[in-house]
Symmetry: C2
Subunit: 232 residues, 2 copies
């Protein structure tokens, strides 16, 4: 995401446009709300919902205000209605076809991950370069060779590609995905992908997360050391 503050609106300023920071939190709210709905809870206050989502009540209310004035004063928000509204705004009322490229350890895990199918995402194919792996059945899906990438994407009208290949192969795979019509990419390979303007890329990098933790860990260690010296 280079330089886009809020997501652009269709043409002339109909919708206010939802801030990216808010969009990133909506799935969290959605998950909490889904849980509440299953527990039979009918309404929630911003305070309770915010608590469960790990944010402040003011932030939550501002987030929700961006998608309309749902919720009644003095009462709270109707859980079912809010679930529907957030789903609609996030575009989860439609179905998306997903292809996973790279069936190593990580790709294997992703194929079996339940979180994909639960919200309208359907994994239509698993692809790998290794002929030894093709044909293998994973989570009810046969692994196919990466040569079939373009055919699979066209056949199922795939919009989202997940890259779980080694770093060196990632850019090539990405180029092929984009050329075949994929417009959103979720990248697990530790490289910065270059894509045309209109394609969205999100990156998940375990190594980076760990290094950030290491930084804070070191900071805590140093600060403890300083305290020890101060009390000595």
């Amino acid at each position: 995401m280079p330089e886009r503050g809020r997501t652009v609106e269709g043409r002339q300023g109909r919708r206010p446009g939802i801030p990216d920071a808010t969009v990133a939190r909506l799935p969290v709210y959605l998950r909490v709300l889904s849980g509440l709905a299953e527990s039979g809870v009918a309404t929630v206050s911003s305070e309770v919902l915010a608590g469960s989502a790990g944010v402040g009540p003011a932030k939550l209310r501002k987030d929700l205000s961006h998608l309309g004035s749902y919720g009644t004063r003095g009462v709270g928000y109707d859980v079912d209605f809010l679930v529907y509204q957030i789903s609609r705004v996030l575009g989860l009322t439609q179905h998306y076809s997903v292809v996973i490229v790279g069936v190593g350890n990580l790709g294997h895990a992703l194929a079996g991950y339940g979180g994909f199918s639960t919200r309208g995402f359907r994994v239509v194919a698993l692809l790998d370069v290794d002929h030894a792996r093709t044909g293998e059945q994973i989570a009810g899906l046969a692994v196919r060779h990466v040569d079939e990438l373009e055919a699979v994407i066209e056949e199922h009208d795939v919009q989202i590609g997940v890259i779980a290949t080694p770093a060196v192969a990632a850019q090539d795979v990405c180029d092929r995905l984009v050329a075949a019509g994929v417009t959103s990419v979720l990248n697990f390979a530790p490289v910065v992908l270059s894509v045309p303007e209109e394609v969205d890329v999100r990156k998940v990098d375990l190594s980076i997360e760990l290094q950030i933790l290491a930084f804070h860990e070191q900071r805590k260690a140093l600060s403890a050391l300083a305290n020890d010296e101060a009390t000595a």
Copy 2:
């Protein structure tokens, strides 16, 4: 991370303190620089480095300026020196012990993930509740029962815990990790963990990433639709 703009400094304002946004990018720079170093490149300009890291040159320079005035004007940055400095700032010159809890699909993948060991992180134990899995060898490590959690953490002085359990178990595991002395947690379970102030938590949630992509995907579809209507 509730409300901390930049990371606090030890006691009285010795160090400037590095912004969180910068810390999050340093690992990316580090990876690119490591690659350059292996290719035998001696120096880089901010422009080239920024290009490879997917950021603007100005941002990169400001980021690097936070950790000192390395780099010579008119020339660029010395690759090896910068690798060392970033490693030092991130705390990667020390070693960290990591324990992975939950050896399902994801935990399995994490155990085999190379990115852990490459930067000073050592996985010292794999834990699971399922007795059927204990004893299994994964990536040269035996799976042990989660009852041994406290013993393992004390024995190896573990600082970082990785949670790859189902959602319902995550908070319990987290509490036990924290009680046993872990101060940093990397959470893959789709729940918001509550931890004491001094513990850092980072969350990786595949489902959320997908939903964010879905939002943008929908946005693009709508905008295309609007264009079609406009030209019709």
